[in-house]
């Protein structure tokens, strides 16, 4: 661990490499994470488009498929194994390198220190190492596409025996799966470094007056997310090491006796437990869902307050809801395993705990609506995405109540219902949180405003698009359409659902297409956008009290002092309809 004292003389670095590549500056690192996530999300999205195309056109030969995958797509026709490897990589890249990376490491890195009045993260060198370790993990993951056999088939959950029994189980289960596990292990290391930094920074580097209960809710969500990451990724790392040993060292942690794979009897593994992997994986995997969504909740809470010019309704309740979601998140992993033949009493216990999470989630939703109620709502693009987040969170959350009940989950578990559910709540809702954060903080990060017209077109198209993709999935799931299958055009009882799948595919291509508007807006605004003022949204938190973009040490050598909470909007008799956190009391005295 680098001593934080080394950076106390915080001088701006010189030279391109130290300024932009191996930078210790949390702002540069935040932007690096953001662009790593942006790259990954387009890779992940492209994979999903290939899958959606194949699902409805399994017999259409595409010449360039054959160019990309000479064996796995010989003649331009995708093999089921190739479909599974696309699915695996889509899930893995999206979950780890987008949902885990951007909301927490990207925005969190950039804005946590500023919002709590610190000049940097607690351990800047560790921060830099954390980013480059993540980068290495991404390179190793992408490399899995290019080794013999290609990318692994075992899904982002990598269940053994498929993930553990080696090349015999299919193409991609050789070196590809090894690289997958290695990449995840590296990613775990990076996340642990990041978590240490986030927690130490929040606990110890808050400026004078910034009590815990005055922190913006974004900071609370980053803190709790870091704690979840700390406890979860440590477990995944341990499990990953065991899985890798099963593959390369001949151990039998997860591989059972009596495996018969591709006409081969497996004699050199015996006695292991595939269920053990599921327990270890989901002990990480469920908190991971909250790692993805909590920062989005923080951004949404922040934005609903700013753009309806009202304090967050029930700030304390929000904080306790965040904490209890974090706590309960560690007690519900079994609800991913109802199908595993677990004792029904265990299933009931996990089910009850799962229902309990509905309570803090409902508190948050109620408070979001309470925040909006009677407010002077400004429908800027950032606000639209925050409202979209609330909508998607509720839609995705409600289907979660179905899945949390063992009796229903046994039916739904391997259907598209689950795909619809988790894409709504974990995928798209979290992505909307990122869009909201992008439109809200872009002026601070780059000193330019984003284009509102393009932003709104992008929002409405995306919002309608994602509902068109994922709502029908619930219906085809109820109709019994299995997930993870590459082709069901020849299944009689699913014939009537094919047009629905075609619709979803069109919607997916449409939604992916309109993301170009976002890219254009992002890069055009970076170069040509209108110059951003210091506080374009009339917000109260500390990042809006400094220039856009902020100077190297954030506060220009001044140590900010905070006098009040983060949500002083529309205070009666105050001079303006907001009071900054660092406005001295006498400024607000008229209103007190």
């Amino acid at each position: 661990m680098d001593s934080p004292a080394e950076h106390s003389a915080h001088h701006a670095p010189q030279g391109f490499i130290w300024k932009y590549v191996f930078s210790f500056d949390h702002k540069v690192i935040g932007i690096q994470y953001y662009f790593l996530g942006l790259f990954s999300v387009f890779v992940g999205m492209s994979l999903s488009l290939l899958m959606r195309f194949h699902m409805v056109n399994p017999a259409v030969a595409v010449p360039w498929f054959a160019k990309l995958w000479p064996t796995a797509a010989a003649g331009g026709l995708m093999t089921p194994e190739l479909y599974l490897s696309l699915m695996t990589m889509h899930g893995t890249i999206m979950v780890f390198f987008v949902l885990t990376t951007v909301p927490q490491s990207g925005f969190g890195n950039y804005f946590l220190p500023i919002q709590i009045g610190a000049e940097d993260m607690a351990f800047p060198v560790l921060n830099m190492m954390s980013f480059w370790t993540t980068f290495l993990a991404l390179i190793v993951m992408i490399a899995a596409f290019f080794v013999q056999g290609g990318a692994p088939l075992s899904g982002w959950t990598a269940y053994p025996p498929l993930s553990g029994a080696g090349p015999l189980t299919g193409p991609g289960e050789g070196m590809g799966q090894n690289l997958w596990i290695l990449s995840i292990a590296i990613f775990c290391g990076a996340s642990l470094m990041g978590a240490i930094n986030f927690i130490a920074t929040t606990v110890d580097l808050r400026c004078k007056g910034m009590t815990l209960m005055r922190m913006p809710l974004t900071c609370w969500t980053w803190l709790v997310t870091a704690i979840l990451g700390l406890l979860g990724f440590a477990v995944l790392l341990a499990a990953g090491v065991l899985l890798l040993l099963d593959r390369v060292a001949g151990t039998s942690f997860f591989l059972p006796t009596g495996m018969f794979i591709n006409d081969h009897i497996i004699a050199n593994h015996k006695g292991g437990s595939p269920l053990l992997w599921q327990h270890l994986f989901w002990f990480f995997g469920h908190p991971e869902v909250y790692i993805a969504i909590l920062p989005g909740m923080g951004v949404t809470s922040q934005l609903l307050s700013v753009f309806s010019r009202k304090p967050v309704f029930g700030y304390k309740a929000m904080v306790y809801a965040i904490l209890s979601i974090g706590f309960l998140g560690f007690l519900v992993w079994g609800h991913h395993m109802f199908m595993s033949g677990m004792n029904p009493y265990s299933a009931m216990a996990f089910s009850i705990m799962t229902m309990c999470i509905g309570v803090p989630s409902a508190i948050k939703t109620f408070n979001w609506i309470g925040t909006l109620w009677g407010g002077k709502i400004h429908f800027d693009t950032a606000m639209l995405f925050a409202l979209g987040f609330v909508s998607l969170f509720v839609t995705g959350g409600v289907s979660g109540i179905f899945l949390g009940q063992p009796a229903l989950d046994l039916y739904f578990h391997d259907t598209y219902f689950v795909v619809g559910h988790f894409h709504m709540i974990m995928g798209v809702a979290a992505i909307f949180g990122m869009f909201a954060g992008t439109f809200y903080w872009f002026p601070k990060m780059f000193g330019k405003m984003m284009n509102e017209t393009l932003g709104k077109i992008h929002f409405y198209c995306t919002f309608i698009g994602v509902y068109c993709i994922f709502t029908p999935m619930h219906y085809v799931g109820i109709a019994g359409n299995p997930r993870r299958y590459s082709d069901f055009t020849n299944v009689a009882y699913l014939a009537k659902l094919i047009p629905v799948h075609q619709f979803m595919t069109y919607a997916a291509f449409f939604t992916a297409g309109v993301q170009v508007i976002f890219l254009v807006n992002l890069f055009w605004s970076m170069w040509k956008g209108a110059k951003a003022p210091m506080n374009p949204w009339n917000a109260t938190t500390l990042e809006w009290a400094i220039p856009s973009p902020p100077p190297f040490d954030n506060f220009g050598g001044v140590h900010p002092v905070v006098y009040r909470g983060a949500y002083e909007y529309s205070v009666p008799d105050a001079a303006a309809d907001f009071i900054m956190q660092n406005d001295p009391p006498k400024v607000a005295a008229a209103g007190d």
Binding site: M1, A5, S8, L192, A195, L230, A238, L242, F253, H279
Partner: protein, 219 residues
């Protein structure tokens, strides 16, 4: 946090004591003092958070151990004969922890010479522990016990290797502090490093004793 706070105030009398921030949460903050106290506190928070991560990783391995050990239907768990040198290694690691604390007390008393001596001794013992562990693996190898031999040996190798990796990190840190000490470069930030790595070393000590109990009682 109490533990962190007491560690924060210990062991330093030479030079000006770091100004301590009163407010954890409260009205805290580093004010205009350059953040020295906040840095030290942050370093300790980082340490304890890091130890929590280590604990979780070993807890995960332990739960895998318990589950795998408890799968009785196949009955393929055969306890391996553990090399007796493990007890010697345990004694060496314990001794190094004790010496590390002697050395910190010496520094507290202002005796840098003794600090250097004991710290160097503890570092050497740390290296000796790793050598001893390597010898234990060698003995197992000679006895024909490899990682894939049976679940007992698998877990033995996994646990000892994971612990050894952490010890390797700890020893590197001890060497770093030692080099700085011998070059008489123990500024305030390195005083923090001394305390941080000593606590980490004690943690590895406790972890090893836990692992020994696990191996001999249930392994």
């Amino acid at each position: 946090m109490d533990m962190a706070a007491s560690l924060t105030h210990d062991h330093i009398i030479q030079g000006p004591p770091p100004p301590i921030d009163p407010g954890w949460g409260g009205g805290g903050g580093s004010g205009g003092s350059g953040g020295r106290g906040a840095d030290r506190r942050a370093a300790f928070t980082g340490l304890f958070v890091g130890l929590a991560a280590c604990t979780m990783a070993f807890a995960a391995l332990s739960s895998a151990f318990v589950v795998r050990r408890g799968l009785s239907d196949m009955n393929d768990w055969v306890s391996i004969g553990k090399p007796p040198i493990l007890f010697v290694n345990t004694a060496i690691l314990l001794l190094s922890s004790i010496l590390l604390d002697y050395s910190r007390r010496a520094l507290k008393a202002g005796n840098r010479g003794r600090f250097n001596f004991w710290w160097t001794a503890a570092t050497v013992l740390g290296v000796l522990f790793l050598t001893g562990q390597a010898f234990a693996w060698y003995q197992l190898k000679q006895a024909g016990v490899f990682i894939s031999t049976n679940p007992s040996s698998s877990f033995f190798y996994v646990f000892t290797a994971a612990h050894a990796l952490h010890v390797l990190g700890g020893v590197s840190a001890l060497i770093y502090v030692d080099v700085q000490a011998l070059r008489l470069r123990l500024g305030p930030s390195r005083r923090t490093a001394i305390d941080i790595w000593a606590v980490f070393w004690h943690f590895l000590d406790g972890l090893w004793i836990y692992l020994m109990i696990l191996f001999y009682v249930w392994g």
